[in-house]
Amino acid sequence: MTNTRFLRPWFLSGPALLLFTALLVAPLILTGLLSFHVFDQVKGITQSWTVDHYLAVMVDPYYHVIFWRTFWISALTALICIVIGVPEAYILSRMSNPWRSLFLLVLLAPLLVSVVVRSFGWSMLLGPQGIVHAVLQIFGAGSIRILYTESAIMIAMVHVMLPFMVIPVWTSLQKLDPQVQDAALSLNATPFTTMRRIIFPQIMPGILSGSLIVFGLSASSFVIPGLLGGRRLKMVATIVYDEYMHELNWPLGAAIALILLIANLLIMVTYNRVVEGRYKKALG
């Protein structure tokens, strides 16, 4: 009896474990192996081994440009999401229902709409016939091209990622005790000091986990640079796609994808350790 009781959780999670082993663990290992295979233009993937694909990414300036672009676009997107998302979540938290729930839905519900549709919407807004272009021309900006530039990618990226910043900040704002704020104000703190010394430190963990999610998702996003960056402006995800579907150089594509995965995981783990660990200590 004790024996079967020990096995029961494994029996219950067995089907899921089977699926995750077959479709997550095994394919990742296979892709790891694939990235070390030699690729030949004529023969395709051969059976001999090499680390050339990783070296190529480290050495070739073409990849440096793309990795650097992906990094700064993602970092800037996270920063803009903080600058827009944090005040917006705070403003929402000071509203009363039904406005509060309504606006929260407007802010978060786009998450459920396909990212292809949202990116396409932006490519129409930012295109040569779009409204943004017309408005810019009224202000005498001449004919600036926005679509297929880094700005276009970033505008759509902020739109898609903003909910991921608002959710954790909103959650930590809900945990605030309004009496602490009132106490600070009654002790003659200015609204600014209250904000800086009372509210901000308490929602900081929310901001940090939000920016982490936004950065990670931006760095690996595929549809947004694909639709708004055009053929010329590549990010890491879009060159992986090109290597797989156009160049047919799967080993190189696999190496780039794995570098992206490892970089993502490394950033998440260090960020968690360093920053959140410090906040846990500070807040008890």
Binding site: F6, P9, W10, L12, S13, P15, A16, L19, L23, L24, V25, A26, P27, L28, T31, L34, P87, E88, I91, L92, R94, L104, L105, V106, L107, L108, P110, L111, V113, V115, V116, V117, R118, S119, F120, G121, S123, M124, L125, G127, Q129, I131, H159, L162, I167, W170, T171, P191, A219, S221, F222, G226, A237, Y241, Y244, A257, L260, L261, N264, M268
Partner: protein
């Protein structure tokens, strides 16, 4: 608590316009009578909607997406419910490890999952198989169901189960008559969230679909990289409407705000 000032409200209005702009624009442009991407001002037409329904590739990939989402959400619920119960009802060696594994598709970029699955599918010769595509979708949507099942089965009173057991109910009867009805809102919510996530999934699917199994978002992505015309706007508007329907369903059955913020608020 203080009220929002004028500056705060203007900022808020700007953010709301920013969030709604791309969705509103696709719905407006979809009604254009012309052939360019312009907002109709004088006359409206449904010609582009008719064109979407006459476009056999788009219609075919809509049905692919629908069946795929229905199948994968259901399969994923079937494996996530026992999985979630194992996580919450038992303390066993390797539980945290298993939980981490089951939630890891949320952390791994879908692009990486796509290339990894493409490699495996081509090695075992199942590229273009609808069944394996469904299993791939089950993998990425299971974390969503699992989280809601775990939240539901932590949040309820275990004494009901113990009462039933002490009254002589068998293990299966307890599950069927007590546990299942009590975690049912979590299961329904999880199923719907899984459904919409599978329906929207594009980055992984673009690697593992074949011409016959192409899903709607993949088809629309391919189309949009080549040409931008009102046909895409009409298709997008229909997707927005479809998503709205699912949202209303989620709201009725589980609570839209609860599912979006994460079940704890």
């Amino acid at each position: 608590m203080k009220k929002n000032g004028f500056l705060a409200l203007s900022f808020h209005t700007a953010v709301m316009v920013f969030m709604l702009a791309p969705l509103v624009i696709v719905c407006l442009v979809a009604f254009t009578p012309g052939t360019t991407l312009s907002v109709p001002t004088t006359s409206f037409s449904v010609r582009w909607f008719k064109a979407v329904f006459a476009h056999s590739d788009l219609v075919q990939s809509f049905w692919n997406s629908l069946w795929l989402a229905l199948g994968s959400a259901s399969l994923s619920t079937l494996i996530a419910v026992p999985g979630g119960l194992a996580m919450t009802r038992f303390h066993f060696v390797g539980r945290n490890w298993l939980n981490g594994l089951f939630l890891s598709p949320l952390m791994i970029p879908h692009l990486v999952l796509g290339v990894a699955l493409l490699r495996m599918f081509s090695l075992i010769g199942v590229t273009g198989s609808f069944l394996w595509l469904t299993l791939a979708h089950v993998l990425v949507i299971t974390p969503y169901v699992l989280r809601l099942v775990i939240a539901a089965s932590i949040g309820f009173d275990r004494t009901c189960e113990q009462a039933a057991q002490s009254l002589g109910a068998g293990r299966l009867t307890v599950f069927r008559r007590i546990t299942l009805p009590m975690i049912l809102p979590g299961i329904t919510g999880g199923w719907l969230l899984a459904f919409i996530n599978s329906f929207d999934e594009v980055t992984m699917s673009i690697f593992v679909t074949a011409p016959a199994t192409v899903t709607l978002p993949v088809r629309m992505y391919m189309y949009a990289t080549e040409s931008i015309d009102p046909l895409m706007a009409a298709a997008s508007a229909l997707v927005v409407c479809f998503t709205l329907l699912v949202m209303i369903l989620i709201d009725r059955l589980y609570g839209l705000d609860k599912i979006l913020v994460g079940g704890k608020s």
